[in-house]
């Protein structure tokens, strides 16, 4: 008897849940975008679904957001046409646009023209901030962020190779990849790694939120600036969504002024970007062997 009851309850539950999933699924002809998961992912979906709603209203088509787990997953989804627009990092954007002919960088955050990576160290190392590259980090333990990150991997690895003439594995006693910037800060703060490289925007954010103990972890060097995050779009969207679609999306992105929406990135506003803006990133990527 009670088995039948359980069955009915479960069946009801399943049928009740089905429409929710169907809604969240991206229908074939909607315009879909994603964003690399690089920092605070609390309510990530809620935040980006607001952006989807804004784009949907402005472009007057159905716009969906799909969450992804890694930088590589974002690039793959873009390449496989499962998303047509993405908020990429510098490196992932270059990788994605190389994989899809005719794709374009549309817009970047105002902060992204002059992005910076901070090298941070645990207080026990005795290292303090200096304007010159801190050569004394050799032999210490070191953590990057995600393997595919521009600010957490590409640029810091470039500077390490540049100043030591050796790969990070040969410079440091141990090299790790924390996965994301918040984690890098936590790992250096706990002393699990002595030194780390972190996206400056995330550092400033966490500092403001009181999640950083200045007694335990501090900045020891700031890299020269480089271009980073950007919106990229596939080249074939004009064919699918009508002429001038690329330009309409660009205009829509540049027009975002609602602080609620900008907080999802977090950026103060968006400015136009081109593929050429990212040539330095491509060069560095080839230089350190991350791009063939």
């Amino acid at each position: 008897m009670h088995i039948r009851v359980i069955g009915i309850v479960l069946a009801a539950f399943v049928f009740f849940a089905a429409p929710f999933n169907a809604i969240s699924a991206n229908a074939q002809d909607s315009f879909v975008f994603t964003a690399i998961p690089d920092q605070d992912e609390t309510r990530l979906r809620t935040r980006f679904e607001k952006v989807a709603r804004y784009l949907s209203e402005t472009l007057e088509i159905d716009v969906q957001y799909v969450p992804v787990k890694s930088y590589a997953a974002a690039v793959t989804a873009f390449r496989n046409d499962q998303v047509q627009l993405a908020w990429f990092g510098g490196l992932s954007g270059v990788q994605a646009r190389r994989a899809v002919e005719g794709s374009e960088a549309l817009a970047q955050g105002a902060e992204d023209q002059e992005f910076v990576t901070y090298f941070i160290a645990h207080a026990s190392t005795g290292l303090t901030e200096s304007p010159d590259f801190p050569k004394s980090i050799a032999g210490k333990t070191f953590t990057f962020g995600s393997k595919g990150s521009t600010s957490g991997r590409l640029m810091p690895e470039f500077h390490v190779r540049n100043h030591f003439g050796k790969s990070p594995d040969d410079v440091f006693s141990r090299v790790g990849f924390s996965g994301d910037h918040s984690r890098t800060i936590a790992l250096v703060q706990s002393g699990a790694f002595e030194v780390g490289a972190v996206n400056f925007a995330v550092w400033e954010n966490e500092l403001r939120d009181g999640r950083i103990d200045p007694e335990k972890v501090r900045i020891i060097w700031r890299t020269p600036t480089y271009p980073d995050y950007q919106w990229s779009i596939r080249g074939d969207v004009n064919r699918k969504f009508g002429p001038e679609f690329v330009e309409r999306v660009r205009t829509a992105l540049l027009a975002i002024d609602d602080p609620e929406l900008l907080k999802a990135f977090p950026r103060s506003r968006f400015i136009p970007a081109t593929n050429e803006d990212y040539t330095p990133i491509l060069r560095v990527g080839k230089d350190i062997g991350l791009i063939d």
């Binding site: 049928f15 996965g179 984690r183 002393g191």
Partner: protein, 496 residues
């Protein structure tokens, strides 16, 4: 001649175990076990606070993640059991056996990473990532069950009976209950696999669990883990034969099938992406040799060594831990209260994915091989400890048997020793496969390099390295089978 030397000469068991100890010990001497953290207590304090203050409302789309976890598990296991059953019928063919060995030698996570390239975030990715390796495992176990079945029933069947009717009316009824038990056990594994697939992006509990863990939101972690334990622990209540069709249809309905699958992507992945870069680029054979040499010397070789090293140390540690754990749930050793608490502890430890255990220890001790060894040994030790503890329930001791430590050392351990070893050798291959997932956490096993290759979108390297993990796994599988045959060790159904 000393007693130990005599034992060593006479007993194949002692000789084998001695060589395993030696190998593990040598690896242990060279292992990186440094405890690097300076201030782990802040973060650990936050973790403990989080664990005792679960927050069930922190996760967005929680219901959908729960439903997806169940749905992927149902469909994946159904596919695995169904396909595995068909394969089991053809198990006499070498081609089928080889196919099964190869598909089960690759970890679910790697299957998922490959299928993600082919089908994107379509439900097919999750179902096949669970179903394909499970089919290989199920086929092997089902074939063994059929083989071990009582042959007299088949002999007694009328001589004119067709092969199909013999199968349906004579062989199957005999083994049906074993099949059912095993399928149910697979469902438990499937739930764990389904959750873990979230780590690479499928919309299951693991998706949120990994994020929450990485971001240090421990109250959310605690809530997600509790939900996960509840699902696994309550399995006996809801996993009923009559409800299977409801679950399967329900699962097929809730998954978001609308995702677009493109034939062109599949073709491109199979014919271009996984072809070694120098060949695609027209660098010819010499380019290919350079590519291979670089890949082998910088990734494949160090990765393989670390994988074998971790596997061997974890195997021996698992043996010790399971021997330590089982008495705590044995009615021969302890009363109800202790056993109750120990049962609970073992269920929690073995249901917790190794990834989570390793993550916690990584936080405490910093990055070295130590967190990985302890995580693997605890998880597998709890599984074997549970099975052996259960096994002691069937043992009858003499009324005047010694008590306490003497009972453990002279009565219990000798009786279960061979079972314990059989299970341990059976899990050898499992332990190696699980080192893959720890690679994703940054411990430099082959899994680490596979993860890097996917992160760099170098699928040619990824496939080469995954193939290497499969070769290592098959080597361990074969060795383990030889060792078990040599020592005449047999396992019960549940241990497989």
């Amino acid at each position: 001649m000393s007693a130990a030397a005599r034992l060593y000469r006479r007993s194949p068991l002692a000789r084998t175990l001695f060589s395993f100890f030696t190998v593990a010990l040598v690896f242990l001497i060279f292992a990186d076990l440094e405890i690097a953290t300076v201030d782990p207590w802040d973060e650990f304090g936050r973790l403990l606070t989080g664990i005792v203050t679960p927050d069930f409302f922190a996760t967005e789309n929680l219901i959908s993640a729960l439903v997806n976890t169940l749905a992927f598990a149902f469909l994946g296991v159904a596919f695995g059991v169904g396909f595995g059953f068909l394969l089991a019928l053809g198990f006499h063919s070498r081609a089928v056996r080889t196919f099964c060995v190869v598909v089960r030698a690759v970890h679910e996570l790697f299957w998922a990473l490959i299928f993600l390239q082919l089908f994107g975030l379509s439900p097919l990715t999750g179902i096949l990532a669970i179903g394909i390796p499970y089919a290989g495992i199920v086929a092997k176990v089902f074939a063994e069950i059929l083989e071990e079945a009582d042959g007299r029933a088949v002999d007694a069947a009328p001589s004119g009976a067709s092969r199909l009717s013999t199968l349906l009316f004579v062989r199957l009824p005999d083994v049906w209950s074993h099949f059912r038990t095993y399928a149910l056990y697979r469902l438990e594994c499937g739930l764990r696999s389904s959750a873990v697939l979230g780590f690479v992006g499928l919309p299951t509990l693991g998706f949120h669990l990994e994020t929450a863990f990485r971001q240090g939101r421990y109250s959310e972690v605690s809530a997600l883990l509790i939900l996960f334990y509840v699902i696994i622990a309550s399995q006996r209540l809801w996993a009923r034969r009559q409800l299977v069709p409801v679950y399967l249809i329900g699962a097929a309905l809730v998954l978001p099938w609308a995702t677009h699958i493109s034939g062109a992507n599949i073709t491109r992945f199979l014919t271009i992406d996984i072809v070694p870069f120098p060949l695609r680029n027209g660098d010819g054979i010499s380019g290919l040799i350079d590519w291979l040499w670089l890949l082998i010397s910088t990734q494949a070789l160090p990765g393989s060594i670390a994988t074998i090293q971790l596997t061997m140390i974890a195997l021996v540690a698992t043996g010790f831990l399971s021997a330590l754990m089982f008495p705590f749930i044995s009615p021969q050793m302890f009363g109800r209260p202790v056993r109750g608490i120990s049962h609970f502890a073992l269920v929690v430890i073995r249901s917790t994915p190794e990834y989570i255990l390793a993550f916690v220890f990584l936080q405490l001790w910093g990055p070295s091989m130590l967190p990985a060894i302890v995580a693997l040994a605890l998880h597998n030790g709890a599984i074997i400890g549970h099975l052996i503890g259960r096994h002691t329930e069937t043992l009858a001791l003499r009324a005047d048997a010694p008590t306490g430590l003497n009972r453990y050392a002279y009565e219990l351990l000798p009786r279960v020793y061979r079972n314990l070893l059989a299970l341990l050798f059976y899990r050898w291959e499992v332990i190696m496969r699980e080192t893959a997932i720890l690679g994703i956490l940054g411990i430099a096993t082959l899994g680490f390099y596979v993860d890097s290759a996917f992160a760099e979108l170098r699928f040619d390297r990824a496939i080469f390295l995954i193939a290497l993990t499969a070769v290592l796994n098959i080597a361990i599988d074969v060795t383990s089978r030889r060792v078990r045959a040599y020592l005449r060790l047999r396992t019960t159904l549940e241990g497989r």
